[in-house]
Structure formats: C-alpha cells, structure tokens
Amino acid sequence: MALPSHAEPIDKVYYYGFRFVCTLIFIFLIAPIFVIIPLSFNAEPYFTFSTGMLHFDPAAYSTRWYQDFWNNKEWIHSLQNSFIIAIASTILATTLGTIAALGLSRPHMPFRGLIMGLLISPMIVPLIISAAAMFFFYSSIGLSQTYAGIILAHTALGIPFVVITVTATLSSFDQSLVRAAQNMGADMRTTFFKVILPLITPGVISGALFAFITSFDEVVVVLFLSSFEQRTVPRQMWSGIREEISPTILAVATILIAISVVLLVVVELLRRRSVRIRGIRE
C-alpha cells in the first residue's frame, strides 16, 4: 500500500512512523537468530564480537567450533539419537494420524468433538505436565530410559499436528472427485491411491514435518525419560547451557538454524503446490 500523492503531512508521519516501528519489531524477531551465525565462527572462545571480527580480519574467524562439534563423540551420538527418534516418531505419527484423519473427515463420524479433543490434547497440555505424567507411567512399565519410551512419547506429541494439518487438507477436498472416480469404475483401493492420496500428500508431508520438528526440538520429555545413552541434541544443548557453556553450542545452533530454514522452505513450497493443484486462488 503505497502512500497516495495527495497525502497530508500527518498521514506521512503516520505512514513512515508505522513502517519504522515495524522495522524495529522485525529486527527484534530476527536479530537473535542472525547474531548467532557470525559468532559461531569466532576464533576466540567468547560469546561476543571480538575487535578483529568487527574489522573483518580473516584471522578472527575460524571453523574451530564446528570441528569441535564434529570431533566430539557426545555431540555426534546425540545428533544420531535425535534423527533416530525424530524419524521413527514421525513415521508412526504420520501413519496413525493420516488414517485417523480420513475417518475424522467423514460426514458420519460419531463423537467427533470428543475424539478430536482427545487426539489434540498432547498439544494443549503443558509439556512439563506431559513429561511428569509420562515419567510416572513409563517408569512403572519399564519404558523409561529406553529409545522405545521416548519414541512413543514423541509420537504422542507429534500426532496433533498431523491430525490438524491432514483434516484441514481433507476438509477442502472435493468429495465429488471420489464419486467421479467410482463412477468411472475405480474400486476403493484405486480411488484412494490414485485420487485421494496424491491430492492430500502436501498436507500429509507438512504434518509429517511438524511432527519431525516437534520431536527434533523437544527437550522436556527427554529430560525426564532419557538416560545418558538416549541424549538428543536439544538435551545436550540444555546441559551445555547450564553446565559448561562453550561456543560449540553456537556452532550447533547454526546447524539447527540451517535445518529449520530447509524445513521452512519445504513447507512453504508444499503449501503453494497444494494451493495450485487444488486450483484455489488466494
């Protein structure tokens, strides 16, 4: 919305003042993320810009904290754990969540509100309560301090995101396409794999990505349920921040930012594709 040529001075003040305020808020939003990236290349073991860095002296920059990360068995082990746990819980959550969403979006679903409420609850309940509750229950059945326990817990936490995104996709899904397919002689299976699935795939994938990031970023449940063996990256960062804070954390943080940028781009592309193939105009 450009400023019209006949704008009065007061309108100009409002126009530029508003944009100035917005710029400041955008800086507040994004600066914390961008400050970390150059600092992770600091040659000194400090958390602030050295004089050399401010003068763009190449000697003040180094990749030592990245090497430190790469050569540290604990960090690499926790990175492996993070991926194993996140991928396993994503697969579980996406499969169960998509099947349930297919049922939930049928017109005849009984007790829809109640069931939806139960399925969404892991997203609503504060994490500390979920973690405490899971700790009590999982210890009593021997699942605490095991990979299986953490994977099950993370699956539960990821399911609401899958259910919400997939039901949202299905709600804008044109049911007459199913009837058209069956009219032309397709059986249930063909209809599902050739008509329904391709159309809801973008929704399923973005649900899966939400489930992945939920698990990949989760630390409270891991704090309560994991032993040293199952430490994940966020868990390792947590003790890094609390105990022996080292710039290696900044290198890890930068890597995690890179991962989230990739995920963000994928979700955005999927959203556009989903809009395009269903012919919805924004």
């Binding site: 602030t48 939930l104 409420g117 500390i128 989230s260 963000l264």
Partner: protein, 423 residues
C-alpha cells in the same frame, strides 16, 4: 426424495415401503458410522495408552496416600480418640512399636517416614533413628517414655496430628500444600504464615507474568500483522518469512541467542558501552532475572500472536476504513472505532493461545529466569527431580492442568481448535 418419487406409483403401499427404506438408510448410516470410527480406533488407542492414561495416573498420584494405611494402620486408627496437645497413651505407642517391628515390606518404614516428613519436617530422621533402636527397646518398661527419650519429637502433637490426618488411602493434603494451606494440630485447615506462602506467590507470578507477556506480544504483534495484511501478497509473503523463521527455529537455539545477546558481557551490553550510552562499569543486568524471562518468552511466543491476528486481518476489507475516513473520521477514529473492533476475534484467539503456552513454559524460565524469573512449571520440575516429592509435583501439575483446560475450553468456543493456523 425417494419417498416422493415412489408416491404416484405405489399408492397405498407407501408406508411399508417407506419404512423399509428408512430402516435401510439408518442401517447404512450406522455402517458408515462404524467404518469412520474404525479408522480412528488405532490412533485413539495409541493416545489413550501413551498419553491419556499417564495423565490420569498423575492425577491419581496427587491424591494417592497408601503409606500410613499400609504400614501403621492400627496405630493410625487408635489415634481417632486422641486429642492434642499431650502425646497419645501407652497403648498407641505399644501398637506403633509392634507395627514398626513387622513392616509389610523392608522399604515400607522408609516410605512412611518420607511421607510424614512432607507434613512435619524432621519426621524422616526421627523414624530412621527410632527404627535403628527398635531392637534395643526394653519390652518390660513403657514404650512411651523410651521413645520420647530416644527423641523428644515423639511428644510433639504436630507429628501425631499429621499421622492422624494421613489415615486414609486418599488425601487432599498435597493439594493443601500446593495452595499453601496446612492442617493445624486440631485438624483444622489454615493458611501457612505469610513468609511460607511460596506456591500461591508462584501461581500469582506465573499468571501476571504470562499476562504481561501476552500483552507484550499483542503490542508487538498487532503492527506486524497489520503490515503483513495490507501489503501486496508477494511482499507480505516475503516478510512473513521473518515471522516464520523464528517459529521454526529450535527453542533452545533462540534461548541461547538471548543469553548471548543479553548477558552482562554480551552483545547488547557491548553495543551500549561502545555507543557511550552506559559506562563499562554499569553494564545492565538483563538476563537471569524476570526481565530475561519476559524478553525471551515474548520473542518466542510472538509468532503465535501474529499468525491468528494476520489471518483475521486479511479478511477485513479496506473499504470500511475508507468509508469511515470519507465520512469525516480522523485516521485515529477510523482505526480505533472501525478497524480494531473487527480484529477482536484474532486478538482473542492469539491472546488465549499465547497465555496458555506461557503459563506452562518451563525451558526458557529455567535457563534465563535466574531466581525471580521462575514459573510454576519450574517448581513442578524441582519437586520431580530434586525434592522427589512427587505427590506435591502431581498436585501442582493438576492445578496447572485445570487452569489450562479452562482456558482451552474458552479458546475452543472462540476459535475452534481445527481452525488453528499452523505456519
């Protein structure tokens, strides 16, 4: 429709036919219902086992009280006739010694001691000390004097009142403790003295800090959402990335960034010193206190305010504002009287969402909150991991859960959970 179509043809046979059609329709609807339900069953079972049952067992733990009933049931029963302040009769002591000498399992007395210690501090060491000397007690002499000789705490009416009040398999005592209440010697409920009211203070702090953070996110989120909504779609989408990137970035990464930025030798203080705004000796303490919690949480929760606001603001037609202006309203009047009322659904949705998330926050206050920036979640974690008073942790958790569920109910009425926007 089918009924109408058959009407001219089948004449008087209509009722029977329509009935069978109705029955067939109902039957097929029932089959459809079951088929839809079958799709949901696996997930429902999964969530029940991995999530709902654990939550239920936590709620149960907040009232579960087996220790006294299982270990010293007869002693506790005999206390029904006891009145403070004198210690109970010799009979009670005799029963107690007998029951302590034959516990149901070897760890039972330890558990009992820990349980009573939650009510009367010092009870744990009292029981351990007594347990060690049980064998050396002179069975001919009165136990009452011997036990009081071992430790004069055995004459303390508060101890006996505590045992008496715990004589039931379910108890409200964890909830009393979680709301800073206690039973006095006569079994009446009273408030803790002011200096020991830690939990109500903490609940109160959690609520007002969350409210303040919600207000901050609204103040910062409103202009941004407005800007994104009025910009052309392409520019708006581009700027939206600046909102979504923090949303997708790891919570721990963002918390680390704030530590790096705000600590006394951090980037922001360095910048202020360099600009000459503060001197090197007067660096501002912006983290490891309430300010740290507020700044970091406002940043982390801001996208949750912007996204619902944005989706409401996009639907507001700019023509309304123009109409108001052309009817003579000033810019401010048009904004305040015409635009803002239309954004209220978004404001409500965003505010409740941010508030719900804020009152349950744990990680950020734990890392940047210092002493006075801790919230109720941190106290739950403390009782889970350090003091090991799991009953109290469960009671505090149940109270927090209750608050969240009430807010969620309001949110669901206002927005409907399915309309929640995810990125």
């Amino acid at each position: 429709m089918a009924q109408q179509a058959t009407l001219p043809i089948s004449g008087h046979e209509l009722p029977a036919d329509a009935q069978s059609l109705k029955a067939r329709l109902r039957k097929s609807e029932r089959t459809n219902k079951w088929r839809a339900f079958l799709f949901v069953v696996p997930l429902l079972l999964f969530i029940l086992i991995t999530f709902i049952i654990p939550i239920g067992s936590m709620l149960y733990r907040s009232i579960d009280n087996p220790q006294v009933v299982e270990t010293i049931p007869r002693t506790a029963a005999m206390l029904a006739d006891w009145t403070p302040p004198d210690p109970p009769s010799e009979d009670v002591f005799k029963t107690l010694v007998a029951e302590l000498r034959s516990p149901p399992d070897p760890a039972a007395i330890g558990k009992l001691a820990v349980r009573i210690n939650y009510e009367v501090s010092g009870a744990s060491s009292l029981f351990r000390k007594t347990e060690r000397r049980l064998k050396r007690l002179d069975d001919a002499a009165p136990y009452r004097e011997q036990l009081i000789k071992i430790d004069k705490d055995w004459a303390d009416p508060e101890l006996w009142a505590a045992i008496k009040s715990l004589d039931s398999p379910l108890t409200g005592s964890y909830f009393l403790a979680a709301t800073d209440m206690t039973r006095n010697v006569n079994g009446e409920i009273e408030m803790q003295p002011g200096s020991r009211q830690i939990y109500l203070t903490l609940f109160w702090r959690t609520f007002w800090l969350s409210g303040f953070i919600t207000l901050m996110t609204l103040l910062l989120g409103f202009p941004i959402a407005h800007l994104l909504a009025i910009l052309p779609l392409r520019t708006g989408n581009l700027l939206m990335i600046l909102v979504l990137l923090p949303f997708w970035t790891s919570l721990l990464v963002r918390t680390t960034s704030w530590i790096v930025l705000l600590q006394t030798n951090g980037v922001l203080n360095d910048l202020l010193v360099w600009l000459g705004i503060i001197s090197n000796d007067n660096r501002i303490r912006m983290i490891y206190n309430k300010a740290g919690t507020v700044i970091a949480m406002t940043h982390i929760l801001l996208p949750f305010m912007i996204l619902p606001l944005y989706s409401v603001m996009r639907t507001i037609k700019p023509t309304y504002m123009r109409a108001a202006r052309s009817l003579g309203a000033t810019q401010w009047t048009a904004f305040w009287r015409v635009y803002v009322p239309q954004t209220l659904p978004g404001v409500g949705a965003g505010a409740i969402l941010v508030f719900i998330l804020a009152i349950g926050y744990y990680i950020t206050p734990a890392l940047v909150g210092g002493q006075d920036g801790q919230l109720i979640s941190n106290m739950i974690a403390y009782h889970m991991q350090t003091s090991l008073n799991w009953g109290l942790a469960a009671a505090l958790g149940s109270l927090l859960l209750g608050a969240v569920l009430v807010l969620y109910f309001v949110y669901n009425r206002l927005v409907g959970i399915e309309n929640m926007k995810l990125g």
